[in-house]
Assembly symmetry: C5
Amino acid sequence: MVRQIKGRSKKSGLPPGTPVHVGDRKTEIIKISLIDYDKESFEMRVTQTVEECFAYKGKPTVTWINVDGLHEVSSVEQLGNCFGLHPLTIEDILNTEQRPKLDVFDTYIFIVVKMHTWNEKTKEITGEQMSLILGDNFVITFQEKEGDIFDEVRNRIKNNKGRIRKSGADYLAYSLMDALVDNYFRVLESIGEDIEEMDEELIKNPTPRTLHKIHFLKREMIFLRKTVWPIREVISRLVREETGLIKDSTKIYLRDIYDHIIQIIDTVETYRDVISGMLDVYLSSISNRMNAVMKVLTIFAAIFIPLTFIVGLYGMNFNTEKSPYNMPELNWYYGYPVALGLMLFVSLIMLFLFKKKKWF
Amino acid sequence: MVRQIKGRSKKSGLPPGTPVHVGDRKTEIIKISLIDYDKESFEMRVTQTVEECFAYKGKPTVTWINVDGLHEVSSVEQLGNCFGLHPLTIEDILNTEQRPKLDVFDTYIFIVVKMHTWNEKTKEITGEQMSLILGDNFVITFQEKEGDIFDEVRNRIKNNKGRIRKSGADYLAYSLMDALVDNYFRVLESIGEDIEEMDEELIKNPTPRTLHKIHFLKREMIFLRKTVWPIREVISRLVREETGLIKDSTKIYLRDIYDHIIQIIDTVETYRDVISGMLDVYLSSISNRMNAVMKVLTIFAAIFIPLTFIVGLYGMNFNTEKSPYNMPELNWYYGYPVALGLMLFVSLIMLFLFKKKKWF
Amino acid sequence: MVRQIKGRSKKSGLPPGTPVHVGDRKTEIIKISLIDYDKESFEMRVTQTVEECFAYKGKPTVTWINVDGLHEVSSVEQLGNCFGLHPLTIEDILNTEQRPKLDVFDTYIFIVVKMHTWNEKTKEITGEQMSLILGDNFVITFQEKEGDIFDEVRNRIKNNKGRIRKSGADYLAYSLMDALVDNYFRVLESIGEDIEEMDEELIKNPTPRTLHKIHFLKREMIFLRKTVWPIREVISRLVREETGLIKDSTKIYLRDIYDHIIQIIDTVETYRDVISGMLDVYLSSISNRMNAVMKVLTIFAAIFIPLTFIVGLYGMNFNTEKSPYNMPELNWYYGYPVALGLMLFVSLIMLFLFKKKKWF
Amino acid sequence: MVRQIKGRSKKSGLPPGTPVHVGDRKTEIIKISLIDYDKESFEMRVTQTVEECFAYKGKPTVTWINVDGLHEVSSVEQLGNCFGLHPLTIEDILNTEQRPKLDVFDTYIFIVVKMHTWNEKTKEITGEQMSLILGDNFVITFQEKEGDIFDEVRNRIKNNKGRIRKSGADYLAYSLMDALVDNYFRVLESIGEDIEEMDEELIKNPTPRTLHKIHFLKREMIFLRKTVWPIREVISRLVREETGLIKDSTKIYLRDIYDHIIQIIDTVETYRDVISGMLDVYLSSISNRMNAVMKVLTIFAAIFIPLTFIVGLYGMNFNTEKSPYNMPELNWYYGYPVALGLMLFVSLIMLFLFKKKKWF
Amino acid sequence: MVRQIKGRSKKSGLPPGTPVHVGDRKTEIIKISLIDYDKESFEMRVTQTVEECFAYKGKPTVTWINVDGLHEVSSVEQLGNCFGLHPLTIEDILNTEQRPKLDVFDTYIFIVVKMHTWNEKTKEITGEQMSLILGDNFVITFQEKEGDIFDEVRNRIKNNKGRIRKSGADYLAYSLMDALVDNYFRVLESIGEDIEEMDEELIKNPTPRTLHKIHFLKREMIFLRKTVWPIREVISRLVREETGLIKDSTKIYLRDIYDHIIQIIDTVETYRDVISGMLDVYLSSISNRMNAVMKVLTIFAAIFIPLTFIVGLYGMNFNTEKSPYNMPELNWYYGYPVALGLMLFVSLIMLFLFKKKKWF
């Protein structure tokens, strides 16, 4: 995830507004799903050609066109031209390395955000880009690959649950953003569980692998944070928008999302703090352990070094026969027991001193 | 306390405004206490059904309905509908994973805050959510379980102490917020005592357990901070509120709470700084100790290693009879005393050198 | 100094505006000193009862009432009522755990600040709270115990030095604030001297005690900083005040205090940076020293361990008589000198290698 | 890259507005390339004298004069005078130690930015300064040496690709800025690859050289960050510019650059965080390794020190003939096997203890 | 440089506006140099009495009075009174412990800044205070001691170079500020060279002295930063000044200084970052080295400890004659060579293991 902006170089030198697909190709075929509804009617179809969508332009019913897969540049371009999108907007839709942002044009609002999912196995966050166009009676969404976070919204429209069928395109756009933001709660919940696990591991049995996992998670949070902060701005600007594309009654709901995104940011920041704290805990536990190892070594050395000296002393070969001054101890009657006693005494003194210093 | 937003996933996919209880069930039965008063009259009743409350709607007297326990979704919904609450408000009341916030609606102000208590035994902060609705002549509060921090307010109303009976619903809301903020002082006072204890422990006898406690407290402060900051914003917006629901005379009192919350934030930040400092103290005391252990080891090794070499030297078995060059010292008359003297001399030199380097 | 807000709990549950003394009782008896002056006249009296002050209310001359000692709640309350103070103001005066703040009421300005003194012996900052009421023609100050930082102002009034006798109550309030801020310069000067001392100690002979002193000072700075920042805000708001209680000519002087307080904050922040730097110096000097100890140990071990091995080798008891392969060196004519030479050679090689690695 | 502002001293003392070339001479000869175009016509010429440019002043077509090489002070001065530049502007063009900035004058906008390239071999960022003057119908650019990042723009004009030939000087200026900002994406992409490489190295085989490279890259990011932040400000002010020199249709495109520069800043900040994290990983891997080394040492010492003591013990020379108490073990029938067994037992005990402590 | 505000205490207790000289006396005699000029005329004189200056008050020509030395309080006071300075201004001129600031009075602008010079030998930054009064037709500057950074300005006036003789007092004030700011570039250039030197030292041969120098420089940067930031504010306010004392044509030049000061701040911040990075490099190089030392020790110990055990083993004195089980190896025909071979084998195994662990 480090190489943030790979693939950008493909574009350098081209005139601005040139549609080029930047990013990995995440799906094989492009899939277009079209939903058209109002209070009474409901229509849903899946297609692979954009031409079918053109008929829905200008209809008084609410139309939601969802495009999965961005590699067919010409399809996106045709759709964009039909619905009157600015060349820069089409360029931005195709470039999946965008930063979340909101652009207001005369006839539509253009939103780019990131959708993240948490891979339970690799413990990785993977993301894809979602672009949303909110026009007068239509919403167009572009995703890099098929996903399921909008399924609930689809069901609500189909089954006429909640306010959605009674409201306009702005409420649909709100519902999609709400599903997207809710999804972040799910991601954070999974990460929270992961942090708890690591926390336990940290206390019970910290290994260098634990450290590695903490560092990895820390980096994930850097990237998550980088994605979530600009979404806050996007929604804040949506709430304050005055183009007439968003009704006041919908803005109350947008304020609700705003509260959610603030809570998400809060949680991300808290997780960062908690993870930093875990790194500190790890490092000080290493320090503690090293200290313990050092003490064991020192106790061993300090007890046995004098003893080894004494036994070495009486292993010297001075000629006791040549002189009464040469190691007379060797010929004493109780020489050996006295030497053993001396060594025992030295050891006890040492142990006593270490005990006093609270080394064990 | 890490898994900040558990239970949220229960809600994802539902249309906004759907009332769902999110959070742990902290009490068995729902309890509704109802207080109705004005300058002269006072009435208080405890019930378990919401229907009794409906009669108090629109009465000119001040009505305070307090609901303990949120798991009976339908009761909350009925009460909300009766007093004209927006579906999003009802949803937020039931979701106990809210961030403290203030929402202003046409006919009422909706406040969500957290109430914290400090568990003396586990040294843990536990929190619950409190929602407060301030309407024209009524205040409705929702708590997750029965508590006692509002008892003093109840007594003041009952015994007609202070201004409370003479003032309107806004003053009642203020009094409840004041009790809640005062409670934070109590929590911080307990934590302060705990910090002092740890501080002493840190100087007298720091153990890895001390470190563990410091880290734990540090994390508690992260969470406390996260809760207290948004309360500042809530009260700041209350003071600047211009709906007419809050009288100017009450705003002077709200400014007073604002000062208190700033003081609480100040104290939380100071505690964080102090705790960080304690971690530094711990780590440098570990360093100091390790240094001391290293020195003892080095002094021992450096003194005895040369001595051990000397005794080993004279333990060699070169054949002194074959040649006058082979270890003639062994046959000297004063060989042994000279060797002992040499060793003493070497030790003293070493001790002198270490003394000079200020190693002990 | 950790338990910031002890004693607060005494108040919880009481209706707001209830006068309760919070804090330690720092003086035995309450002392009221009263100064009344204008261009020509001057009167000064010391009393212990508040009733004498009532007569001065509404006089056209400037009246300064200074109260030392806050434990007699009723006296403070009577004085407050006489001069028309709001119950919350009286409550705040009595609560010595306030954060510095400024409240503007219709007829007076209420200022709470902290006065700090530096105890040269314990190297501790001790503080007390000062409240100041600036009314139309009067200034009332409340201190926790008798102090002398206002003596100079008293003398200036008495001896008619400077502008003070020719100016109104606002200039008197300014003069008192100025004396208070000047006092912070004195405190910082003492701390600066202390830092210099520690700095020298750090370079010449750093001990764990030095570290302890640095940590202590660091914490003192946390608290000083916490007190000084809000004073900046108090004075900034005084300068921008538009109640008419403060004349424009006095505001030039207040701007001067503002510059001073900015300088004090600057100095506190710089001290914090310097103290942090000192901690870094200490820790890296510990590291350096440990490294040096390690090297001595390693050099000793690395030189003597091979030598000890050699002497051990020739201390083995293989039977040289049974076989010509068993330690023939022991029977060589120059066996011993050769062995000594070998050991000398090994030592020199080692020393040469360490020299090359720049270990000493 | 540390000596940020070398060469500045050349200028001190001179009156402001004196044209002096500050910086290294990066090219031998000055090269002036001149492009003049409108919807239909296109002219391009390369020259070394400025006089040829004078004729293009005031022409209704768009004129782009690009100067490579700044050491011929008089040429720059003549050009500046011809197009009515302020003396301070000319001074700033010649001083290559500028901070990126935007100055608005009555008849032109003056922009200074930095162009960076990443040297794949030395892993260094090298930069040069680019000045851009946007006048009514002309754009003048100054570079320190010939480069190729504007080649694509030249080609687009030549081949009449995109909107450029149909638009005015402001769109040309935008295109140049766009090329410059795009170039930063290329630089960041290269750095991203480098970080990934180092990341792998860090996990597989961290050496002090890795650390050195991380520190080097960290410093590169400090400088990159310092350059990129002010560019954001430059473009932000361009978007809000109201001189009429920039048309509204061009501002949409400038907002697009603004998004890009925000993304670049975001990436730079993320890289900084990632690099900091890598330093932490390195340091804790050093700690882990040291800990492992310590353990090996301690295990060895702790196992063999007691054994060595035992063998030393039975190497003592107490006279077994003089007394039955002197080392009777030496004369036991199974003395040696028992001693060996004892040593084996001690070793096993030790190993068992270390195993239990999870030391290996 | 720690004791920031020494000497302040001299002032406490005095009425505000009392002129007292605070700071060290840096010159023996006070020196007043007076320059008076307009487009045609030029006059310059050096004097030691202020009375000569009075005649120049109110002249239509531009008068620049420069005072070196502040200890003669009365001279400064007389000069101030003559030119109508507020008592607080005179007090501030004499107090050399000021923070850089700008005060606007009705008839003049008062600026206090710091002039710094870098002492090449002691590697210390020394500073002095400069006060500047800009009036209608006059500029008065006060310095603590004679300096030469204004010499160039003097020469320009004398030799009628640049715009200075044609412009008013505001342009003179600008020129002086410009000279002062330019001087900071010189200081930073010197520090930059110093950092480069240290950087090289750090890579080639880091010693504790290097560390000491880095810490020293770090502290110097703390103080430089503290001085430079408020100058930014001073100049920013000068640019926005609307008293009419500064002409719009001069403001273009002031904006230029503003850019310079921003660049200086940028450089100071970058240097701080670089120096912090150097500290990290130093500490990790210490860690690396310690690790290397540890490894050498461990390798030595781990190889020789088993060998020493073996030679000790065969140095035991078990009686081989009493039992065939007692050390039969000693009597083997190839006992000694086998023992030597065993030791060689053990060493090789050890070396192989360490090689595998990449310890050397």
